[in-house]
Symmetry: C2
Subunit: 396 residues, 2 copies
């Protein structure tokens, strides 16, 4: 057998997002782009801000000098770490310095770099469903195990009763994703404070740090003035992981970062560990051109008004169709309940109408369906009747 058992089994139960992506490609090839309404993939389609685009000329200049595109310190360009420290401190209202930051290949690279550094074999990573399905792989890559607790059915808020039971001496990480992919929920300051106090107590009880990790690439994209609190002031053993894939339209270039709480005892040991694991996992350093772009454009943002408008448009359609859902507080996904919670039948009915969405079981939350609205307005508008027909098929 060429592959190991684990990877072989991964392939057999391959990602639903990826399956829908392939289905979409097939449909588009057969019917034409404009006949398919593809809400399956969270591929942010807004172009980077002008400052970023203009930086390409400057980067060409740098690339013409010796070592302009050469290796760099594994934690990233010193000037970028400095600038990011300033940006992050302002964004989150906490004081961090360059030495608390490691630049990574996106948030996915950041989470792997972190898990490689802190997980012992058999350690557990707790996530709240619904959750981004890749987390399970990231934990298992480094001999960890994912343990899942559910949020509250009515509004996807954090349920602490379950959490208390699930934490064991093996618990090493509690990982939250807010604004959440797929459900769009943002955890409140109140919830995060409760979470922090539980983790403090458990860390004391077991005599071993439980890390609170916040994966927050959608932080910049919130609606209805929903506050987006920072975990750093709330809990000592906290780490923020994020990326610029969405906020700057740079998903393919792979630029993100890890920020270690400056209040963490021995925080510099942690940063040394991350710098090393970023290197030995083969990232070596986050892509240098992406780092240069970020150096030029940090603080800029894609036009979030576009996402606001699309959210309204798709939300109106889903509402008119009679679906049951919460308006997302952040991010670019709707996560409505399938009619009668019949998720497979709904996905199938949508597919018959050339509408692609991802089943909730792909996020540990069967019964719902995810629609990504990082698609052009006309796709949303033109999908209206198709969505209506699919919903009606199930209601009858």
């Amino acid at each position: 057998m060429l592959l190991n058992q684990q990877v072989k089994s991964y392939i057999e139960k391959s990602s639903w997002i990826r399956k829908m992506f392939e289905k979409g490609a097939e449909l588009k090839a057969r019917l034409g782009e404009d006949k398919v309404f593809d809400f399956s993939l969270g591929n942010p389609d807004l172009v980077p801000p002008k400052t970023i685009l203009d930086a390409f000329l400057e980067i060409k200049q740098k690339a013409s000098e010796p070592l302009g595109l050469g290796y760099m310190p594994n934690a990233g360009l010193p000037a970028l770490r400095e600038k990011l420290a300033h940006f992050f401190s302002q964004e989150q209202g906490v004081q961090v310095q360059a030495k608390h930051i490691v630049i990574t290949s996106g948030a996915a690279g950041g989470l792997n770099t972190l898990f490689r550094a802190i997980l012992e074999p058999g350690d557990e990573v707790i996530v709240w469903a619904p959750f981004f399905v890749e987390y399970g792989f990231y934990a298992e890559n480094h001999q960890g195990k994912l343990k899942i607790v559910k949020t509250k059915e009515k509004d996807f808020s954090l349920d602490f009763d379950q959490l208390d039971e699930v934490i064991t001496p093996k618990t090493r990480v509690v990982l939250i994703n807010s604004p959440n992919n797929p459900c769009g929920q943002i955890y409140t300051l109140e919830e995060l404070k409760t979470l922090a106090s539980i983790l403090e107590r458990k860390t004391r009880t077991y005599g071993r740090e439980i890390f609170l990790v916040s994966d927050e690439p959608y932080r910049f994209l919130t609606y209805e003035d929903t506050p987006m609190p920072s975990i750093l002031p709330l809990y000592t053993y906290s780490v923020v992981v994020s990326s610029f894939s969405k906020s700057l339209g740079l998903a393919g270039e792979r630029i993100g970062y890890v920020v270690v709480n400056p209040e963490m005892p021995q925080s510099q040991d942690m940063v040394s560990g991350l710098t090393l694991t970023n290197r030995i996992l083969g990232f070596v350093n986050a892509p240098i051109i992406g780092q240069y772009l970020l150096l030029a454009g940090l603080g800029q943002m894609v036009d979030v008004q576009v996402y606001k408008k699309r959210r309204q448009m798709l939300g109106d359609i889903l509402q008119e169709a009679g679906l049951n859902f919460l308006w997302p507080k952040g991010g670019f996904y709707f996560f409505p309940e399938a009619p009668n919670k019949k998720e497979d039948e709904f996905i199938h009915a949508l597919l018959e109408e050339n509408v692609l969405a991802v089943p909730g079981k792909g996020f540990g939350w069967p019964g719902n369906v995810r629609f990504a609205f990082c698609v052009p307005e006309k796709v949303i508008l033109n999908s209206k009747q198709a969505i209506f027909r699919a919903v009606n098929k199930l209601k009858n």
Copy 2:
């Protein structure tokens, strides 16, 4: 404890290359750049070819379109895989297609992607010393173990007597690096044929594939017309890993690839596995701007005449100093024996003269010292008397 035991121990015995790098930075800050002769780091300093530099404008254009810098298939841009298949087929005289190639974040990313896909816990990866020290981390990241066999003392050629003893049912990979970092040796067609026949026999004996993996980022840089054979025609279960860090001066952008032997039974399972592990390790896809650059500049090369000249200059100095060494057949390193094999003393004497090199124990080969000659000519020229003094100090 914040970090896991393994990562903590890695940090304690941290890389010699990195130590010398830090020492160099300190010396340069104190004495000035031009007073320090830094041969420690293999950071290729030649600028990318003009075609690559010119591509920045085109990429700016692409970046201005929706999804221009967005996610892509995890195995890489289809057009780049096509073009690379053509390039690779010509370079190595074997026929490969796009479907046998996965674009990775450098060769380091490629090796991690590969090991994640094929190693079972406890599997062994055999390397020949001297070897690039990061290989040990890459194996251990994925629960593998590095096993080291020595090349022949006289010329760093492959010693097969030892190999036969070292291969066990746990052996999963034999990893070669040719042209070799640090010793500059290129393994001959004869050696590779012998190696292939041993691996065929052992694969049959144990009923489990032993992969032959060739890491060859220095393939483009050979001297004295030394032939650089391909492993693919020689052995079914072979995989080539490489990068454009050196040949195109793109080390910081992280672009490389894995090619699976088209003759391998179920080669497409292997490629599916690599595509998945490239994703779940957090690379997701190799950096898109690097991929665009490569699409524009594949087939071009940095000016290798510069390396040829530097090799001659540094070789002449080492020879005049009376050091014992082989002229490298490829790559950009010299690996002379320390006077009386006293490596630590030699490194120390060099340091006293502000010359930085890396001790051979950092490559599993104590007694020698590595000099990287990817540095400007004037550094080489100005180091002459300093090297002489260091050598003489040890000889007296």
